[in-house]
């Protein structure tokens, strides 16, 4: 049972609230399976000290994640990754991907790039993803659950850059 949370990188001045940055990264770790159901997270006090942020920020992030089904609090024992975490976080990552597709469509229209060209570029991009990862992605059902960890990581990173 891992007690150590993988590193969280914070950019206090980036305009994204710190609790949100913590939430996004914990979600990314659960979506990619780095954090698994039952893994214990650091205490509020410890994580506040590690990240050098106000403990109320950690409380905020943890309660939102708990509310969203990613984390669960076990009375007197601490905070753990919830059983529902993978399903929830993969679904969220897929929703992000969907929004990126909408964005891509809008940009293509704005630039006057025809649909056929966008589809060809997409196919070319997909062909550079290693075989194994692609097969996993194709097997994933629509509610998520067995998605390619690599593809999800890319979704998260692309989302950060917006």
């Amino acid at each position: 049972m891992a007690r150590k949370l993988p590193p969280l990188l914070l950019d206090p001045s980036g305009g994204v609230p710190i609790y949100r940055q913590i939430m996004d990264q914990v979600r990314a770790y659960t979506a990619t399976g780095v954090l698994k159901p039952g893994d214990q997270l650091p205490s509020i006090r410890d994580l506040a000290k590690t990240l050098r942020v106000n403990p109320t920020t950690i409380v905020h992030a943890y309660s939102e994640l708990e509310h969203g089904g990613i984390l669960e609090r076990q009375q007197g024992r601490g905070v753990f990754v919830a059983a529902t975490a993978e399903q929830v976080s993969v679904a969220e990552a897929r929703a992000d991907l969907r929004r990126m597709a909408e964005r891509l469509a809008m940009d293509a229209v704005q630039l006057g790039v025809p649909l056929a060209t966008v589809q060809r570029w997409m196919a070319e991009a997909l062909s550079t993803v290693p075989d194994r990862e692609r097969r996993q992605g194709e097997n994933a059902n629509d509610h998520g659950g067995h998605n390619s960890s690599r593809a999800l990581e890319e979704v998260e990173h692309a989302g950060d850059g917006n």
Binding site: I44, K49, R52, N54, Q110
Partner: protein, 322 residues
């Protein structure tokens, strides 16, 4: 509504004919970490001295823990501890002697905690020397030790990180996080120019300008109220293009960029749709929010003299879109 640990209304204070505070309102919720930011001369230090009862207000009133510190008893005052910028007194005393001295004034003085802080701040050897012979950074760290070890209900810090090198600043940040993680933790009022430190610690922020409060509220809400937007048009937009809530706007060819205050995402989206423009919204960090709000207030104060209008180029604007 939570109780207020610090509450000031209509504070005015002039030095000669120079107004330092001009109707300042300040409300710090109990248990919060309140960051006070503002340009040099905005009145932060004067406000803090009025709160502590070190100066008397010309008008208005200031309550800390419901008490006017100007007339509070020593025991009541001991619930409040501060780190001030111009700490001069007791230069002949050593740090150790100062701890003994402070212990006499603060009933909750925590000697073991003081010792731990001295160690964490790398002050152990400096504690033997007279305070007057310490470096600026050492004096500042010693002042923080004295304030924290007093275990106050309200902790007031005026530029505590001034004169500190980056390593010492981290030490200070660590000590403050440690204090906040303790039960019960004090209410903290913290003035600083180091906005990135503040973004880590503060849950409430007040932006002071020209002796009064320009904007105040929960950090996340304040940050989210100001955004940078970009509109991309199909056709060159009307020359009289305007955006509601725009603090400043600039149109270059098909692209309009603006900083807007207090307009929701949905409002912006509806506006862009109506204009047939593509919309991008960029969140701003607290530092950019501060710069934009203060620059806008300064433009309003002297619009003619500086020849600035909304839409004109503002040289003080930070770098363009990220």
């Amino acid at each position: 509504m939570p109780a207020m640990a610090i509450e000031a209304r209509g504070l005015c204070k002039a030095f000669g004919d120079e107004a330092a505070l001009d109707g300042l309102d300040l409300a710090v919720p109990e248990g919060s970490v309140y960051g006070l930011i503002g340009r040099n001369g905005a009145g932060k230090t004067t406000a803090i001295k009025l709160l502590l009862g070190l100066l008397h207000a010309d008008e208005g009133n200031a309550l800390v823990l419901g008490l006017d510190m100007w007339s509070a008893t020593p025991l009541e005052r001991s619930r409040v501890a501060a780190v001030l910028q111009d700490w001069q007194a007791y230069d002949w005393m050593s740090g150790n002697e100062l701890c003994v001295h402070s212990a006499a004034f603060y009933p909750r003085w925590d000697d073991r905690y003081a010792f731990r802080l001295v160690d964490g701040f790398e002050l152990t050897t400096a504690m033997e020397r007279p305070v007057g012979r310490l470096s600026g950074g050492q004096r500042r760290r010693l002042a923080v030790v004295l304030a924290l070890a007093a275990r106050p209900d309200v902790l007031i810090l005026d530029e505590p990180a001034a004169n500190l090198d980056p390593i010492a600043r981290r030490g200070l940040l660590d000590a403050l996080v440690d204090v906040l993680a303790a039960e019960p933790s004090p209410t903290v009022l913290y003035s600083t120019h180091l906005i990135s430190d503040l973004e880590r610690l503060a849950d409430h922020v007040g932006i002071m300008h020209a002796g009064s409060m320009l904007a105040a509220g929960p950090l996340d809400a304040l940050s989210a109220s100001v955004r940078r937007v970009q509109l991309v048009f199909d056709h060159v937009p009307q020359p009289d293009l305007s955006l509601p809530g725009a603090l400043i706007m600039e149109v270059t060819g098909l692209v309009a960029t603006a900083v807007v205050l207090g307009v929701s995402d949905a409002g912006l989206k509806a506006l862009a749709d109506r204009m047939g423009a593509r919309l991008d919204v960029f969140p701003l960090g607290l530092e950019d929010v501060f710069v934009e709000l203060v620059a806008s207030a300064e433009r309003r104060a002297a619009p003619k003299a500086q020849g600035r209008l909304v839409g004109a180029r503002d040289e003080r604007r930070p770098e363009g879109f990220r």
